[in-house]
Symmetry: none
């Protein structure tokens, strides 16, 4: 049941609008009409391509800060520095996006209904990235984690510290400098967390 070129484009437009709007406001706060209006198509058209509103979420693609992750993995230095490099990069990304957007993103993450929103995907990406950064050279020698390090827990804790900074930043309405103040303490936080499990020279 291949689609016409035009049909393909309509479908893509809908998907794109849906993705952006839901990313901005959250699933519940975006109506089908919002999506069709943004796409410039009629309301009914939506139901040509998707059985129901929920359906569109399943299609939403999962890409994200892949580049940053890659760089951090291959960063030349011990595991704690790699982590620090990664978290700092995330902070900078966030600061660049602005409180408003991050706020909405967190809210979106908190929506209980959608199990597989873009926001959640990004979250798991970060988690996965930290896992990778920690394990990529695990057991390789000085400056890396020991084989018995509780990597999963460590990754979660680093995420926790990162999201703590992010959340507090949002709640304080920006009257807290994410890239300066938070980053300063993040270095110490990470060291404290990883050191006990690192292979000493």
């Amino acid at each position: 049941m291949g689609l016409t070129k035009k049909a393909e484009r309509t479908r893509a437009k809908l998907l794109e609008s849906a993705k952006r709007l839901i990313g901005e406001r959250g699933f519940d706060k975006v109506s089908v009409e919002d999506i069709t209006r943004d796409s410039g198509v009629a309301k009914g058209t939506f139901y040509h391509y998707f059985k129901c509103k929920e359906d569109v979420v399943a299609e939403l693609s999962f890409q994200s800060c892949q580049a940053t992750t890659e760089k951090s993995i291959h960063y030349d230095g011990p595991v704690d520095e790699r982590c620090y490099y990664y978290m700092t990069a995330l902070c900078k990304d966030a600061a660049w996006a602005g409180v408003r957007l991050i706020r909405q993103w967190i809210r979106e993450t908190m929506e209980s209904e959608e199990e597989d929103s873009e926001a959640k995907a990004a979250l798991y990406n970060i988690y996965g990235a930290l896992m990778k950064i920690c394990t990529v050279r695990q057991g390789a020698g000085a400056g890396e984690l020991r084989e018995d390090a509780p990597v999963d827990t460590l990754a979660k804790l680093m995420m926790s510290h990162f999201f703590g900074a992010l959340t507090i930043w949002c709640m304080m309405n920006g009257s807290w400098n994410l890239t300066e103040q938070s980053v300063k303490y993040m270095e110490i936080d990470i060291k404290n967390l990883l050191e006990p499990y690192m292979i000493k020279k």
Copy 2:
């Protein structure tokens, strides 16, 4: 403006129904009518006790905050232990409220529109509490903070760690034991943060 015994009971019933239903289905999937039906009272009665649907969450989430704060301030022990005691208590409160509820609470906190929502008030309460806990015996001798300690920053960082735990807990959909796992590391986190500014014996 105290409430009648009966009124108190009605209010409690509403709160209880709300807590359970929101805990089961999430905020958006529970209507005011659901709550009143479950409580066995009329729809209008809900609005006798709460200004709007969102209001009930703020109430529920940090109901016992005040008591916890008081206890922590007067807790017999050095400043780091007091802080730890407080944060642990907050974690327990949150765990008791349930992920769904805390999620909705965070969402409300992230609403940019209202500058003075009840949700935000709770946030500032925590911040204020940490400030108090840190300064109440500041400079009093061993186990307390030095006069020159950057209390404001320390309070914000502790909040950050707490909200990090909270956020990650919500995002992980509860598949992370708040009271056990987070609390374990919070002790270390707090020590690392406060120790450099504490008066040694």
Copy 3:
């Protein structure tokens, strides 16, 4: 069925609050609870003294700019000057009260439901005043109206001109100086209206 002193006072408080609030916002925009809250009594108490919400309106007293009217009637000068004096005084009163209040007053006047609101009473007062000012020395000689003058129509037209100024003032949000600009033309308006019916010397 005389009322206690205290009861009398409660009743008076309710009446006073009702009068003020309804005067400010209009009958439909004031709830019984608004009135009782403003009076500092319980909601139920309202129904001790009034059978229903509508009932309270019937009690509202009808006094108003009696003083201004009196002065205008006895103003020493021909009928057109008396009218001008009166209208100018009304403009000044309005300007003193402020756009906000007058706006609400006009809205209130436009409420179709209440036949006998305070606002409407004031309206009829103005109408009556103009009638009186025109007829008080009607037929008395030079500078007064002839017996066959269509006083009713003239009064309505002067009111019309006055309310025109008032309305436009409100609509223009105050960017139109009521006492200066309107008053300047009102003199001419009134002369044009009355002259054809005045007894010449």
Copy 4:
């Protein structure tokens, strides 16, 4: 964005029902459901055509304003006759709409909150129309305004007289014939206002 024939009919039905019901009972006593029931359409359909309940009044009240304005500008005659023609047409429009409706319209205009309601737009339309009617052939010779005429003030005063008539009509609950009595004097009013600034032959 033209509407289907059928849609046009539905919209017209809604508008017609609204006009009649509001005319009979007043704005506040007519619910959206009343209107849709009377029109024989579903409740939701109302919101397909109107943003909110208030919206329908703005639509109704000065539906034909645009046409009237155009005609008046191109009316063949001196400036005072054009103005008179316009004001008379407005009076007829208002009379056709009915007191209840115009009342609600004035109330909406007086709402201070929204700076850019449809009601206010209509107001500025009238003002703009008068400005245009006065200036379109300004300085063109006999029967037109001189270049130095205070057009802005004149337009405001004519509006003032028009709204005076309208307001008094509403306040008198219709016991004042807008098209007959007001119109009779409007001619004189306009002449008095414009003559001093008109180019004589």
